[in-house]
């Protein structure tokens, strides 16, 4: 009886499978064809983009996709300077610095054919300020009001002077959305986003790909050569490299160091590289006992209680060897929060030298026998390789590292909660040094997971925010970095260098210091 019953179960299940498969085939048939002469397939290695809605978007890889179909009021150039894109010139600022006027390009159209004008800009800014969950609201929060003056001029009134505004309009806050589509979709804009851009959004397979096609309305259409760009989410570095070599991808926005050799050896591929503005390092839990921003209270672990032990910990790490062993010599070893690719890099800030002998002495002098340090590592092969390297380096000076491999989201939660010793994590970097320092080490910093507090550093960082001359700020950031390097709430290890792999048949692809791969104006030879 059971046999018969199971048989029927199987038959029913199989029948269901067949029906679903047939439906699937029917659906698949209606999809667009895959490969044409002018289709560029780009691999995204830094995770899947989140909502394709400029108001809500937060991920790095999302910015790379937006570059093809959502132009901004301003853009960066190769020297990381701000230049007009949808605006026709840089903004003019009133004497009291409270009124900003932005002139707009004339006669251009959104990708749904509707005209681009000042009213559209006003609607976008208003949405960025008010939509629930807007990631832009804090970026442009000093805006008090905005109005369209005529068809092609926007006047913005500020509550307080705010010089980063132009820089914000050179990122997602400056992406202007089609009012027609906003009125049509409202909060669901991400399901079919329409902006001004060389390409227009076509479709998205969640977790897999985003497809954009050439826009018939773009103002600079004659310089757009591709018919279509497909962005593929690549979760595995080895698989991504293999896909690039096989020609399934013609561009890959990041190559893992372990795959570099193979791609270099391939004469159908070339590599472009760019040192980013960010860093990778360790966050040491010193005073985060009760959770992020809940006040300083030393956690009492050996490494939190003993500054000499922290020094020994850093001395045990040979950054150059780490670069060679773990990353095949592909990163830029460093010990400061500011990357050498930044104009704010200060070479007078000296690193703690690699000195295992001295480190051993410090460990012995600390009086703690066999100090054990837990290292929280987000899951991932490269991160785990680095952790194992450090484990062996620290073992050599008598510090035992226990690796706590933790999935990424959990690791962030634990870092905020303060339930960790040390955390292997980095920061993608910002143009302004404040963006790489303040939020991590200032007592009230929004990502001060170390629970670190230093009144003198707070004063210096706040002054640096207000200081108007470059020299004054440089002096202040030098002093700030010296304090951080001495107290070690974070230990900086290296600056990533992004390498993109491109088919040699492609030209017109660039990468600026923001390390976004810019593919919109590419062409096949």
């Amino acid at each position: 009886m059971n046999v018969i019953r199971s048989r029927i179960a199987v038959i029913a299940a199989l029948a269901l499978l067949v029906v679903l498969a047939v439906t699937a085939a029917a659906q698949a048939g209606s999809r667009s064809p895959q490969k044409e002469g002018g289709t560029l397939t780009v691999g995204l290695t830094l995770g899947e983009p989140d909502a394709l809605d400029p108001t809500l978007a937060r991920t790095f890889s999302g910015r790379e996709v937006f570059l093809t179909f959502c132009e901004k009021l301003y853009d960066l150039n190769a020297k990381a300077q701000i230049v007009p894109q949808l605006a026709s010139a840089l903004p003019t600022v009133s004497k009291d610095k409270l009124t900003v006027t932005i002139p707009l390009r004339k006669g251009i159209k959104f990708n749904d054919g509707t005209p681009f004008d000042a009213a559209a800009v006003v609607q976008t800014i208003q949405r960025d300020l008010t939509l629930t969950g807007s990631a832009r609201a804090s970026e442009i929060s000093p805006i008090a009001s905005e109005q369209a003056v005529g068809q092609y001029k926007v006047v913005i009134h500020l509550k307080t002077p705010y010089s980063p505004l132009t820089a914000q309009f050179a990122d997602r806050a400056g992406m202007i959305m089609s009012p027609a589509q906003l009125n049509n979709l409202g909060a669901k804009f991400a399901t079919n986003p329409v902006c001004v851009g060389p390409f227009t959004y076509q479709n998205r397979v969640a977790g897999d790909s985003i497809t954009v096609v050439k826009s018939p309305y773009y103002y600079n259409k004659k310089n757009v050569h591709l018919d279509k760009i497909v962005f593929k989410v690549e979760n595995d570095t080895a698989a991504a490299a293999a896909a690039l070599k096989a020609g399934d991808l013609q561009a890959l926005d990041g190559i893992d160091s372990t795959q570099l050799q193979g791609i270099k050896a391939d004469n159908k591929l070339r590599i472009i590289k760019q040192t980013g503005l960010g860093y990778q390092g360790l966050t040491l839990n010193i005073g985060n006992k009760n959770g992020l921003l809940k006040g300083y209270s030393n956690v009492g672990t050996p490494i939190a209680a003993n500054a000499d032990l922290r020094e020994a910990f850093e001395m045990a790490i040979d950054r150059k060897a780490m670069n060679k062993v773990v990353f095949g010599g592909t990163v830029l070893p460093g010990c400061t929060p500011i990357s050498p690719s930044s104009a704010w890099y200060d070479s007078t800030v000296k690193c703690t030298p690699y000195n295992p002998t001295q480190a051993k002495k410090l460990v012995a002098a600390s009086g703690i026998s066999n100090p054990t340090v837990h290292l929280m590592v987000p899951t991932g092969t490269a991160a785990l390789r680095q952790a194992q390297f450090m484990q062996s380096e620290e073992a050599a000076v008598g510090i035992k590292i226990v690796i706590d491999s933790t999935d990424f989201v959990t690791s962030l939660s634990k870092a905020d909660a303060g339930t960790y010793d040390t955390f292997q994590i980095g920061w993608s970097g910002r143009v302004d040094p404040d963006g790489n320092i303040y939020q991590f080490v200032a007592t009230t910093g929004s990502q001060n997971d170390s629970g670190y507090t230093n009144a003198r550093l707070d004063l210096i960082l706040n002054n640096a925010r207000k200081a108007s001359t470059v020299e004054a700020r440089q002096t202040l950031y030098r002093a700030a970095q010296k304090i951080i390097l001495n107290d070690r709430p974070l230990i900086y290890l290296y600056h990533p260098v992004t390498r993109a792999g491109l088919s040699t048949s492609l030209k017109g692809i660039t990468m600026y210091p923001d390390t976004l791969l810019r593919v919109a104006f590419a062409t096949f030879k």
Binding site: T237, T258, Q261, T381, T410
Partner: protein, 292 residues
């Protein structure tokens, strides 16, 4: 049961044991499996004395080195001796294999026995639950458990044990159902034996050969399971070597040093194969109906 009965029962048992040994020795595959299994257990137990190097000893001047007289199987990305890590890795695999099976047995056998012995609604409920658990992909369960409790060899072993339990419940239930129909059960009941006595003193010993076979076949599944979980980062944590984590490390070097991915994989296959062959052999000798 009287003393006379015991004597008359013991003698055929001893005779059967000799017969089984004879049957077993006539199967070269099964004997080979047993030899490899014993070898693996010895290697796992005596890893510190067998391995030429410490499994964590790094040598940054010899990273990804090819096999040589110094490092028979070469070194990995931190310059660690691959052979030593392979030998130590046997520990994690054997531990996961044996203990996951023990966990599964401890959970499954009592439940299966109760279901098979009492039948009725208890049996129906248990059978239904087992069906549901069987339909539930065990890997998803293991991933969930690891996510909630944190990755470690212990949690991976527990997850594997729980994952293997439903199938064992089914087997032990079926066996208990069959044993219940044997003549000795009414005899024991007539002698005033309690349910517990019948289940544990009579039915359980009579099931032991089936359970032994099942255990031998569960171990390789658990060994492969441990490798999968460790490969996904949900099992053994570094620096403890395990064949699964060795594969995880090797995944980044598939084109530079494919040997690092091939060797631990072969070890897994060898271990699983040895247990499978042994299990098959045991089943054949206990149940001559299916023999060739």
């Amino acid at each position: 049961m009287s003393a006379v009965d015991t004597v008359t029962l013991t003698t055929p048992r001893a005779r059967r044991r000799i017969l089984l040994r004879k049957r077993f020795l006539r199967r070269p595959m099964a004997v080979a499996g047993l030899v490899i299994v014993v070898g693996l257990v010895v290697v796992a137990l005596f890893a510190p004395w067998i391995a030429p190097y410490s499994p964590g000893a790094t040598d940054f001047n010899a990273i990804l080195a090819s096999p040589s007289s110094k490092h028979w199987l070469g070194t990995d990305f931190l310059g660690r001796d691959e052979l030593s890590r392979l030998i130590w890795g046997a520990r994690a695999s054997m531990q996961a294999g044996f203990f996951a099976t023990v966990v599964a047995m401890v959970i499954a056998v009592p439940i299966g026995l109760v279901a098979g012995y009492y039948r009725g609604w208890i049996d129906t409920v248990i059978a239904r639950l087992t069906d549901v658990l069987l339909a539930f992909p065990f890997l998803i369960l293991a991933v969930g458990l690891a996510a909630i409790f944190g990755p470690s060899l212990l949690n991976a072993t527990l997850a594997l044990g729980i994952g293997a339990a439903p199938a064992l419940i089914r087997v032990s239930r079926g066996e208990a159902l069959a044993q219940r129909e044997e003549d000795y059960v009414p005899a024991a009941i007539a002698n005033g034996a309690s349910d517990a006595t019948i289940i544990f003193r009579h039915i359980l010993p009579n099931m032991s050969s089936t359970l032994l076979v099942q255990a031998t076949l569960t171990i390789p599944a658990a060994i492969v399971g441990e490798a999968i979980l460790s490969f996904l980062g949900l099992g053994v944590q570094p620096p403890t070597p395990s064949w699964g984590t060795m594969l995880q490390d090797a995944q980044s070097y598939l084109s530079q040093a494919p040997r690092l991915a091939v060797i631990p994989g072969l070890a897994i296959v060898a271990a699983a194969l040895a247990f499978n062959v042994l299990g098959d052999g045991l089943r054949d000798i206990f149940d001559p109906r299916t023999t060739r």
